[in-house]
């Protein structure tokens, strides 16, 4: 129920229709009976109308004839720049279709005799090449088969969750629910690719998931090297790794540059990101080779040739991408490159930030290299990219951070704090950029309980999420850092998958992906990471409890990507997500396959719900319930979907079922409240 004192803050959102339906209805009802609030709304509306003072002139004349004239000119005279006044780089001339149509026109203009001669020669050449290719591939594959044996890829039936999407996974080490969740990520990636690159075929997407060596570092632990989504049927050069995150988009931009051969010398670039499953066996392990990686990132273009040579095929893909990006940047110039990047990720410098973060995590020595990427607008030229404020008093440290003149521009807030800190971030600490908060324990102290309240999330009302807690057990004798990252990709598109990764240094990355499940946590001793699958959406996390046991060395906790998210995110949709992680459904061992199908349907239902396709979401959730009738989360999600579909009776029934299945839980409390609101 909206309270009078909350209304002014939400008035503008209400007037712009930004609030969820139920809040819109609540406010409408409230203002109907509260004069003060109605006046507040009217006053806000008056404020907003002042924005209308900025008028722009109407279009003076129809520019269509001019456009059509230019279009005809462009199509009939190949390579005439579309608009010389707007074009500054040969890269942007025309489009692929225009180029193709120009070539066709040239072809048509040739004399018939020439056409026949050229066609004959071309056909003959193609035939000879094909024969040679078949012979070479035959020899090669025979040898590879003999040396390596059969490929370990398997395609489980449970993974075939939707048409056009094939999920490959290896080593038999990934459970079906995880595969289902990844499939959803892939479908989001597919949609993103289609939106950003409308001319790219995404008819078939192969998702490669592997958790065993040598891909251990490359599984779902990090956006930078997480999920390999490989678009098939396009040849190696055009295949890509894509997870719809900025790094993937950035790599795609690089691939676009290479594949269209717009830059001399880059045609042969192939990084692991662009490999198809068929060549993965050829590649073998790629341990992080820091010296080479540093050289790659530093030298850029000179190293590109080496990337394609045999000895450097083992380089970590992040660094290959770094080298490639640096080379492209140098070739194009900074501004043009930024512009190209913005075309795939409009209005943000995020790709730079993400890439830099990934590389610096792997090798801190790269930090100076990336300093060159710092935008002048983000940091003063003579200031470092991060700064450290130390204090023995947590409150003092926090205040020092907030008072620091550079706090809004720094990439990382580093705070050394005493144990048992309850850090409550507020609006003041949030920015719209990517930023990290680093809380570091004093040496030899123990951090028994640290509460990180990310301002991304709703921090005003903590009750709903106060029970979400995670424990980090550090049993190794040499832990230096424990990093818990909330990755941006999970809260800006996928909506279904969150990855918490942990890092133990020295010794490089040791991420192990794991489902968040209390039963599982007890049984494992070496885990350092968390994986929330299915329904978890970190945007609804308002509080993280992180407990570290016996850290005898300084332990650092990170929270990445602090971002502002409006308070209205704390809506029933978030309750769904919270409920889903609140009480993970136990999966009977004997019925794993059945449960996996339910999880896949459930994940699909949530995805559809997130996409606003409620009718289909209801169907998917009902399928999940058919396979697992006691799936409380599915009942819960379906209840809210039914609300959207105006089926209040159905929703009430589902809420009652939630109360039956999870009595005493917060989810049940919420269901009870929802029932009361619905009058039943």
């Amino acid at each position: 129920m909206i309270r009078c004192e909350e209304l002014p803050e939400r008035a503008a959102d209400y007037l712009y229709g930004l609030l969820p339906d139920w809040q819109m209805e609540e406010i409408a009802a409230h203002t109907g009976r509260c004069d003060n609030c109605r006046q507040a709304i009217e006053k806000t509306a008056e404020d907003l109308r002042r924005f209308d003072a900025w008028e722009v002139p109407e279009l003076e004349a129809d520019t269509c004839p001019e456009f059509m004239r230019r279009l005809r000119l462009h199509e009939t005279q190949e390579l005439v720049p579309w608009d010389a006044a707007l074009e500054r780089e040969p890269l942007a001339r025309g489009g692929p279709l225009a180029r193709v149509s120009g070539l066709i026109q040239r072809w048509r203009a040739l004399p018939t005799g020439t056409k026949i001669a050229v066609s004959s020669i071309s056909l003959l050449s193609v035939a000879l090449l094909a024969v040679a290719l078949v012979v070479v591939i035959g020899q090669h594959s025979g040898r590879a088969q003999a040396e390596r044996g059969p490929r370990p890829l398997q395609v489980p039936e449970a993974a075939m969750v939707r048409p056009g999407l094939r999920v490959w996974y290896s080593e038999g080490n990934v459970d079906e629910a995880l595969v289902g969740a990844l499939a959803d990520v892939a479908s989001v990636a597919k949609r993103a690719i289609e939106e950003v690159f409308p001319d790219r075929s995404t008819e078939r997407i192969n998702l490669l998931v592997s958790r065993g060596y040598p891909w251990r570092e490359s599984v779902v632990t990090d956006r930078a090297n997480t999920i390999y989504v490989l678009a098939g049927n396009q040849g190696i050069g055009e295949n890509m790794r894509a997870d719809a995150g900025p790094v993937a988009m950035m790599c795609e931009a690089v691939a676009e540059l290479y594949n269209s051969r717009r830059l001399p010398g880059f045609e042969r670039f192939v990084s692991h990101r662009y490999l198809v499953p068929a060549v993965i066996d050829e590649v073998g392990p790629f341990p992080i080779q820091l010296p080479n990686a540093t050289a790659l990132a530093t030298d850029g273009p000179e190293m590109l040739d080496l990337i394609t040579s045999d000895e450097y095929t083992l380089v970590h893909p992040d660094f290959a991408a770094v080298a490639a990006l640096r080379a492209v940047e140098q070739a194009l110039g900074r501004e043009r490159f930024a512009e190209l990047l913005d075309q795939v990720s409009p209005g943000t410098q995020e790709p730079f930030a993400v890439l830099r973060a990934a590389a610096i995590r792997a090798d801190a020595a790269l930090e100076p290299v990336f300093a060159a990427y710092d935008e002048a607008t983000r940091l003063e030229p003579d200031e470092e990219g991060s700064y450290l404020v130390a204090s023995f008093e947590p409150d003092e440290a926090i205040q020092a951070v907030r008072d620091h003149p550079l706090r809004t521009m720094a990439d990382t807030l580093s705070v050394v704090v005493a144990p048992d800190v309850d850090w409550q971030l507020t609006d003041e600490d949030a920015t719209h950029g990517t930023r990290s908060l680093r809380l570091q324990l004093l040496r030899d102290s123990e951090w028994m309980h640290a509460n990180l309240i990310d301002p991304d999330w709703q921090f005003k009302d903590l009750r709903r999420f106060s029970e979400l807690s995670m424990d980090v057990r550090v049993e190794s004798a040499t832990p230096q850092h424990v990093a818990i990252d909330l990755h941006d990709e999970v809260n800006c598109g996928h909506g279904l998958i969150a990855v918490f990764s942990a890092e133990v240094r020295p010794g490089g990355w040791q991420p192990i992906v794991y489902r968040f499940d209390q039963r599982s946590l007890k049984g494992r001793k070496d885990w350092t990471a968390f994986y929330f699958d299915g329904a978890f959406r970190p945007e609804c996390v308002s509080r993280l409890h992180i407990r570290v046991w016996e850290p005898k060395l300084p332990v650092t906790l990170y929270v990445d990507n602090l971002r502002l998210v409006p308070r209205e995110l704390e809506t029933p949709a978030d309750e769904v997500a919270h409920a889903a992680i609140h009480q993970p459904t136990p999966v009977p061992e004997a019925n794993l396959e059945h449960a996996a199908a339910a999880e896949a349907s459930y994940a699909r239902g949530l995805a559809l719900k997130g996409a606003g396709r409620f009718q289909e979401a209801a169907e998917a959730l009902r399928q999940a319930l058919a396979a697992a009738p006691d799936h409380a989360e599915a009942h819960w999600a379906l209840a809210w979907v039914l609300i959207e579909l105006k089926d209040q009776e159905g929703a009430k029934q589902k809420f009652r079922r939630v109360i039956e299945l999870a009595p005493g839980s917060e989810q049940a409390d919420q269901a009870q409240k929802a029932l009361e609101r619905l009058g039943g």
Binding site: Y16, A53, F67, M68, W82, A338
Partner: protein
């Protein structure tokens, strides 16, 4: 009444209001009248959008042509089952923001010190307009785009989400903070106007 030689042949604007998506379908098939109709439908709003984005009335027209050209060459891959308008706005945003980035340094600064503010020659309404324009121009690109699309262009959150390529939650967030910042910045004018 004219009859078409093919059921999907678009004859021109006399036909009963085909949707943008149908027009895009026909345009992709090479029907130039459909291209013209699409262009005419969208040139007013999108030019207005680009004028607010770039604050340059002349260049906005050129940028719209550029954006529409890019849309045209990509029409073959446009899925007519999806809305055309956000797709076009997305391209226009990319073109507009790209142009801004190239020319930001040569553009006049968004704000002016109080001491330079003309005192007598401007009526308050005009001055408020300038204040709004400058306050909007000072917003970060992502917030500015969302604000203009929502407030001036009247796009829904779902459409803006498609334009910006971000979730609706992010759109709401950007809009929320944009409005909050704008209201704070314009408080001086609002309060002055409120004086009796």
């Amino acid at each position: 009444m004219r009859t078409a030689e093919h059921p999907f042949t678009y004859l021109g604007p006399d036909d009963a209001e085909p949707t943008d998506e149908a027009l895009a379908h026909w345009a992709a098939a090479g029907n130039m009248r459909a291209v013209e109709e699409l262009y005419r439908r969208h040139q007013g709003p999108v030019v207005s959008y680009l004028r607010r984005l770039t604050r340059d009335n002349d260049i906005a027209v050129d940028l719209f042509m550029e954006a529409f050209f890019r849309a045209y060459v990509n029409l073959k891959s446009f899925d007519p089952h999806r809305p055309f308008r956000p797709w076009l706005y997305r391209i226009a945003s990319n073109v507009g923001l790209g142009w801004l980035r190239r020319h930001r340094r040569s553009l006049p600064p968004a704000g002016r010190p109080d001491g330079e503010r003309p005192v007598f020659e401007m009526v308050a309404e005009r001055e408020l307009s300038r204040q709004v324009e400058e306050a909007v121009a000072e917003l970060p690109d992502d917030q500015r785009t969302v604000f203009i699309l929502r407030h001036y262009q009247g796009l829904s959150c779902a459409e803006i989400s498609a334009v910006c390529g971000c979730p609706e939650g992010t759109v709401r967030s950007r809009m929320h903070y944009a409005v909050r910042v704008l209201r704070t910045r314009l408080r001086f004018w609002v309060e002055r106007d409120d004086e009796p």
